[in-house]
């Protein structure tokens, strides 16, 4: 099940990060990426698997908001 909504890293503590999905916050593991606060990421099964540029994240979020 691939959840494709990008979230923004709000804070990082060790391998854990708080990810902000347009106001909804969830924890994710960031061991698989070199993530920093304010990076946009795709999370799969509780782990961030890839970073997105701000522009690409905005493009994906636009699809969601129109959907």
């Amino acid at each position: 099940m691939c959840l494709a909504i990008p979230g923004k890293i709000k804070s990082i503590s060790g391998h854990k990060a708080i990810i902000d999905y347009d106001g909804l916050e969830k924890e994710a593991n960031v061991s698989l990426i070199d993530g920093q606060v304010d990076d946009y990421v795709i999370v799969h099964a509780g782990f961030a698997i890839e970073k997105l540029s701000k522009k690409d994240a905005a493009k994906t979020l636009k699809y969601f908001n129109n959907g």
Partner: protein, 344 residues
């Protein structure tokens, strides 16, 4: 629908006039969901057919692995699973029935959740199902001490098997999005076949269909990365390194596709103390001795290769429903039968 997508649909319709029947296979269960949810098939010309492939991890999990894990549960070993696996039919029971009978079965969202549970249930075994998308998470957790029964699989060998089967005449692949985020786009160059890696929005899928039809017309056998916002050429090196550190590649059995050489992931001997297949070797041998033949007419194995459709199955919508699944394709929300039941 945005202008670009409308334009893509018009182009698909125009180009389709030059073609006979075209079969495109989506290789990811989430793409199948997008296609069904937005009724994308209704937007396409009649001669462009979309078929679901073996991209639903639960669906392709070998029956023997399912029965062994159910057997472990019935022998009082606590089991952690991703939600989909709960109702997978086994020869004698399901994990759901085992849970109702008081066995410790836990649904987890991530391997981190499983690690937390392991503190309370030290004998806990996590049923590792999935392709390259979920394997790095399992590898990470094994390194943290999680015990795992690995059914993890590599995706490209399944594509190779589909391409070599002359009974399946597919003209193009819609490649998986998040598997590709891990393994990268370059790896698909070995298949001289029209392929598009795509995202999960309906706009993405429509664009990928347009690109595939263009390639088919121009006899262009290559891979186009439409999901460039997430998928790089080389993939996620950290995740790939973790997989290589913890797992070794071996042959594996897939529902429907049979045994595929070098398509499975076995936990390396270095981590054998976290490998349920090693820890419970004798118990698993005993569980296998108790196996009886599976008695039902489920054709999930043929459906996930695109050879048959859900409606061809005598069980579909009769005895087999999402509430009473008789086979793996109905169990998973990404399974072709579940999707067809829900949306058509």
């Amino acid at each position: 629908m945005d202008k670009t997508t409308q334009q893509n649909i018009n182009e698909i319709k125009n180009m389709a006039q030059q073609l006979d029947h075209v079969k495109l296979m989506e290789l990811c269960g989430t793409h199948s969901q997008t296609i069904a949810k937005y009724n994308l098939k209704s937007l396409l010309p009649k001669n462009i057919e979309l078929i679901s492939g073996p991209g639903c991890p639960i669906c392709v999990t070998d029956q023997q692995d399912i029965d062994i894990v159910i057997g472990l549960a019935l022998n009082d070993i606590p089991i952690a699973i991703y939600g989909d696996a709960l109702t997978l039919p086994g020869r004698q029971s399901t994990l759901e029935k085992a849970k109702q009978n008081g066995k410790n079965i836990f649904i987890v969202y991530s391997t981190e959740d499983a690690l937390k549970l392991q503190k309370q249930y030290p004998k806990l075994v996590f049923f590792g199902i999935g392709f390259e998308t979920t394997t790095p998470m399992t590898a990470w957790a094994i390194k943290q001490g999680l015990t795992v029964f690995s059914s993890h699989k590599l995706f490209p060998p399944a594509m190779e098997t589909l391409l070599s089967n002359k009974d399946i005449q597919i003209n193009g692949f819609i490649n998986p999005g998040h598997v590709s985020a891990i393994i990268g786009s370059k790896i698909y160059n070995r298949f001289k076949f029209p392929q598009v890696i795509t995202g999960f929005e309906p706009e993405d899928v429509i664009e990928s269909i347009k690109l595939l039809i263009e390639m088919i017309i121009n006899k262009n056998n290559k891979v186009i990365n439409q999901y460039i916002r997430v998928v790089s050429e080389k993939g996620n090196q950290k995740a790939l390194d973790l997989i290589n550190e913890v797992f070794e590649i071996k042959d594996a059995r897939w529902r429907g596709l049979g045994s595929i050489p070098l398509s499975g992931l076995k936990i390396k001997a270095k981590f054998k103390d976290n490998d349920a297949k090693f820890i419970y070797k004798d118990l698993i041998t005993n569980i296998k001795k108790g196996f009886k033949p599976m008695e039902n007419n489920c054709i999930c194995g043929q459906i996930l290769q695109g050879i048959k459709k859900s409606n061809d199955c005598p069980l579909f919508r009769k005895t087999c429903t999402p509430e009473t699944p008789q086979g793996a394709c109905m169990v998973s929300v990404e399974g072709a039968c579940h999707i067809n039941y829900k949306y058509s």
